[in-house]
Symmetry: C2
Subunit: 333 residues, 2 copies
């Protein structure tokens, strides 16, 4: 079995560290692991396979001999290094949003459109966390009827804002407990005991960039250029795992029992749907594992062609790092 | 000006205490205040108008000479005392759900259907907190086009579960901070840093009682027996104020600017809708005041006859105590 030289770009961030863990957990055939970061990361270490790996500053010279680069950096860094990565013959599996809408860059959720990986020209994009989690739960239902549109309200964890997010929530809660002030830095308002209905920047028609991702990325992943998705994204004082309350509009009437049967067998999903037994997805239950938990499945009372569901997924894992490693697995298959 | 003898039934609970505060704040003409509780409350005191009022156990004899009873007790207590209250000639403004669907009991949000107060036969019901908050924001939009249906996802504060809710969240957070366990008692799962997508008991078609209230109470308050509402109710680790992400389906296309203008002038509402200035409703902003904050107003991308909005309201005040005192004000007008 061949071993691969894998570089993680942005190895010290929340997603980068998770990528290192998941490469190990899934026994990805790593021959050599290269941890890359910004200048600031110089001199720091990350752990991989029981070893402390020095983090090197990413430069033009970092990618010689690399087979696969897992990108966990921001858009600017991704844009800067993408040409160098591809010139070196490596494949760039990028978690930034920089290339997601490029026509020659596949955008892949391995449970949904694995075949798209084959069309890559050196770059494959990983979807936004909320997109990956929502669509893993929603896409299997296309077996019952084509999906026309999706309405969603999200409940997004603070770790979606990077490592500083959980730190701010924790320290703010501690400070408030002592009666001390803790002015918001990462988030625009206090997040402890609060909700912030604004994630991303204003993009169009009153929607934020985060809200529009579910529509634009959904269209590409599902190969449905006409799909409409209307979304409200809300930050909640939860450490980890994003949750989504969705109403899915199908072409035809969809039977709840049939939908339940499909989701019980859907790859990447775990059906948890028993109110009487207090079984339903929660962020805590879905944290630190790879499945998207789905429940509260029921017919929408406003339209018999609609189904409602509630799903939770670990946005650092299935919403980012796991999905990227799954793409890398498809690449070497 | 006449003064009224007012009894608060359930005076030691979260809503009861708030009723006492609001009677004072709004200068309700209280001649005598009677604080009633269960046998357990015997010997305790509540404060009203600078005085400590002894809480009496509610009995058949408690209601002689009372003009208005504000009910902040559970359904069983409401059902037990309602006949005695009305036999004594008092009007019962009840916050329990016991009578909300009785044909001869008006269900009133004073900003929406104040005229219904006149039809009472001794009992007037206060709506569920989420209903009162959502409809205060949504009902004014009927000026633009009739409403056909509403889709909603809620983000409900722990104080909606009574005084024990915030205590559990606070103590659970403290215990977790010390690395100690704190098994859930009030809520079915850990609520600290978590979400619980189940409020109320299973009622029908996979929906909980809390979720169905918005439809059934909405039909009665809006006088629209055909209205459909599909709702997912979620408990969030927020102390106070419920939030709702809603999509409202109208008969016709509705212009966002026109909707904004209406909500800016709507009674009981405050429009906060400027993403660039980080102005939008949050639970913290809406806590401990009476207005329903409305924002994130925009056309639904899945249907041009739909509008999306986000609203927050203090569920102990506008969602319960304030609405009840407003009804009492209509009664004495």
């Amino acid at each position: 079995m061949k071993n691969y030289t894998v570089a993680v770009l942005g190895a010290t961030g929340a997603v980068g560290r998770e990528m290192l863990r998941i490469l190990q957990e899934r026994n990805f055939p790593v021959g050599k692991l290269i941890a890359l970061g910004s200048e600031r990361s110089n001199g720091s270490f990350v752990s991989f396979a029981g070893e402390q790996i020095p983090v090197q500053e990413a430069t033009k010279e970092s990618f010689a001999g690399v087979d696969i680069v897992l990108g966990a950096a921001d858009n600017q860094t991704a844009l800067e290094f993408a040409p160098i990565i591809t010139q070196n013959g490596a494949v760039f599996v990028d978690n930034s949003s920089a290339f997601r809408q490029y026509p020659n860059v596949p955008l892949v959720v391995p449970e949904i459109n694995p075949e798209d990986v084959r069309k890559h020209e050196g770059i494959i994009s990983n979807p936004n966390c909320t997109t990956a989690i929502s669509l893993t739960a929603i896409a299997p239902l296309r077996a019952l009827s084509p999906i026309r549109s999706i309405w969603a309200a999200t409940y997004q964890a603070v770790s979606g804002a990077g490592i500083a997010g959980p730190v701010e929530l924790q320290q703010q809660i501690t400070a408030l407990g002592r009666g001390e002030p803790y002015p918001p830095q990462v988030f625009p308002h206090q997040i402890a005991y609060n909700l912030i209905p604004r994630i991303g920047e204003h993009q169009e028609l009153g929607y934020t960039s985060e809200e529009m991702k579910l529509q634009y990325e959904g269209r590409k992943i599902l190969h449905q250029p006409e799909l409409t998705v209307s979304c409200t994204c809300v930050r909640v004082p939860v450490m980890r795992s994003h949750s989504v309350s969705a109403s899915i509009c199908f072409e035809d009437h969809v039977d709840v029992a049939a939908a339940r049967e499909i989701l019980a067998a859907a790859p990447g999903c775990r059906l948890l749907d028993d109110l009487a037994a207090e079984e339903y997805p929660t962020p805590l239950l879905s944290s630190d594992q790879d499945l998207v938990l789905v429940g509260r499945l029921r017919q929408d009372l406003t339209d018999s062609n609609r189904l409602n569901l509630w799903c939770c997924g670990d946005q650092l894992r299935k919403g980012a790092a796991t999905n990227a490693v799954q793409i890398a697995e498809l690449l070497i298959k």
